[in-house]
């Protein structure tokens, strides 16, 4: 007997009688004998909860979390405050033990949550329509690229070097298998080089992908890029940060065709990299080209407002190999979390998070550069993150900071070859005192 398996031996015997077999082996008679595993799996013996908890805490003790350390690390995953109610509500088992809402009559909870999520993603980005979410920001960007290729019937994607390196790597893997060309737009002084974009663009350019705030935290002005892109009848894909949208110009205000990004920042734990949540929003024109699940509003037989998965003819279970994507799931729980977070913050709260992150980041930047030992890598307006160049390699710096209980920034040498470059992140969670401590330490390290 195992606590998760209720059949007793007597049950099993009675059930075998009904089936007409003598032993469990009778159930597996179709498996040829040479394929039957004749030894036990080499795994642990089953454990009690108490043993599991002990083992997991031992493993946990080998980690240092952002509760133990003061986090100045960002670069695509952010340590924002998560209100208490988020996890209380998201952990309701009616949500997390449900399957995909294929039976809408008993899934209105999930379906309405997604409908509201879609509405709020549109509310942030200004776009016309949103899907129910994708795996993460990087795959959302890759899906957007495929959408552009399919829609324009062109085969080259131009992607700015200031787009998150993880995103570009994922894009590259996806593109390789479909023989889509990826061309990198160089950067100049920390932003997309629009002059180079002009020369790189041609009749095969399906889309241009940019990110703002970009990987360095710099807010890119997309006005020029938009003109060039649409002038070439290519699509403009913009990767954005949802919190920044509380203050920054929205994708729709720039005329973006597809807005993507990662909504981890909206109430999701850092989770050592996942699960996070990718969002994808677009124009009405491209609505039926979106990948992934979409929820729509309709009426039931009594005329009552009801929600249902819709536009399913795009999807794999119907179109099979002609589907817009192979994706089946959305990041439903993460979308739920993001929704609860957005609702809890509201219009003003989200703005406050964005404002405090900005002003604290600026305060940190001034404080850290005041001594002259560190200088800004790029002198441009930024959001939440900024790149500094200092006297030593960021790994060495971070090592020292760690011994002082600080989780330092992202080393910009690896992906960008910026020697002694470090990308620091300051969210609303950081205090003046913590920032001052960081600044004081960098002076002596």
């Amino acid at each position: 007997m195992h606590r998760y398996i209720p059949n007793t031996d007597a049950d099993a015997r009675a059930m075998m009688d009904v089936i007409g077999i003598d032993s469990m082996d009778g159930l597996f008679e179709d498996i040829p004998d040479n394929l039957i595993l004749k030894r036990p799996l080499k795994l642990n013996p089953g454990m009690s909860e108490l043993e599991i908890e002990r083992k997991m805490k031992e493993l946990g003790a080998k980690n240092q979390s952002t509760d133990d350390l003061v986090c100045f690390l960002g670069a695509g995953a952010y340590d924002h405050y998560i209100p208490s109610i988020v996890n209380h509500l998201a952990k309701r088992s009616e949500f997390y033990t449900a399957y995909t809402p294929y039976q809408p009559e008993i899934s209105q909870g999930t379906l309405q949550v997604i409908f509201e999520y879609q509405t709020m993603i549109c509310g942030l980005t200004g776009m016309d329509v949103s899907n129910a979410s994708l795996y993460d920001g990087a795959t959302a960007c890759a899906e957007a690229a495929i959408m552009a290729v399919d829609n324009t019937r062109r085969n080259t994607i131009l992607v700015s070097k200031t787009v998150n390196p993880e995103t570009r790597q994922v894009l590259k893997s996806y593109a390789h298998s479909r023989d889509i060309n990826i061309v990198e737009i160089p950067m100049v002084d920390g932003i997309t080089d629009s002059e180079m974009l002009k020369t790189l663009m041609d009749a095969d350019s399906a889309a241009v992908i940019v990110q703002s705030p970009n990987f360095f935290g710099i807010i890119e002005d997309l006005t020029e890029v938009e003109k060039l892109t649409h002038g070439n009848r290519s699509l403009l894909i913009s990767s954005v940060d949802p919190i920044s949208l509380a203050i920054l110009k929205k994708p729709a205000e720039y005329g973006v065709d597809i807005a993507v990004g990662d909504a981890q920042v909206l109430g999701n734990n850092l989770n050592y990299g996942g699960p996070y949540i990718g969002f994808l929003a677009t124009t009405s024109k491209l609505m039926r080209k979106m990948p992934g699940r979409i929820v729509g509003q309709s009426l039931d037989v009594d005329g009552k407002r009801a929600f249902v998965l819709t536009l399913q003819a795009r999807e794999q279970h119907i179109r099979r190999y002609k589907a817009t994507s192979n994706i089946c799931s959305n990041q439903n729980l993460n979308a739920l979390i993001a929704s609860i977070y957005m609702v809890t913050m509201g219009k003003k709260g989200l703005r406050e998070v964005a404002l405090q992150s900005t002003e604290k980041a600026y305060y940190a930047m001034h404080k850290l550069t005041a001594g002259g030992k560190y200088k800004l890598a790029f002198d441009r307006p930024f959001f939440r993150e900024f790149a500094l160049i200092g006297p030593k390699d960021a790994d060495l710096l971070n090592k020292e900071l760690l011994t002082n209980g600080i989780l330092g920034g992202y080393n910009l040498n690896k992906e960008y070859g910026i020697e002694n470059g470090v990308l620091l992140c300051v969210t609303e969670k950081r205090t003046k005192q913590e920032i001052d401590k960081l600044a004081a330490l960098t002076e002596v390290i």
């Binding site: 039926r288 536009l311 399913q312 003819a313 795009r314 119907i318 179109r319 002609k322």
Partner: protein, 127 residues
């Protein structure tokens, strides 16, 4: 199942009505019935050139999506934009509601298609 005399039919359940060098193309009653309630028609674009057998249009119902194949080769000279907002017209009268008109560049391809009698028999076999 309804068919109309004088039209040409394909094995993929499209019909063609010839008007000089112009061919009006739609889907048959059999096709609309098989699909069920049609919710969306992805129309071809003007001036697009298709070879016979190319996919020129995708028709979606709630639980299915079907490609429609060009019965004859040619350039698209007209599209029925009404279907964009009212896809249900294809259910209501599939022969009155054509999808596109092409300027045929090889009318001899019509010889490969069926007449209404042959098509009727073909559909009976499909059942």
């Amino acid at each position: 199942m309804k068919t109309i005399k004088g039209l040409y039919y394909t094995k993929d359940h499209e019909w063609v009505k010839v008007d000089g060098n112009k061919a009006m193309v739609g889907i048959t009653d059999y096709a609309q019935h098989a699909l069920g309630e049609i919710v969306y028609v992805e129309l071809p674009e003007m001036d697009e050139v298709y070879k016979a057998g190319d996919v020129f249009c995708v028709i979606e119902s709630v639980k299915a999506a079907a490609d429609s194949f060009a019965p004859v080769s040619g350039k698209v000279v007209e599209i029925n934009e009404e279907l964009e907002d009212s896809p249900e017209f294809l259910n209501e009268d599939p022969y009155d509601n054509w999808i596109m008109a092409v300027e045929m560049n090889n009318p001899s391809e019509l010889e490969d298609l069926m007449d209404d009698e042959a098509y009727k028999k073909f559909c009976e076999k499909e059942e």
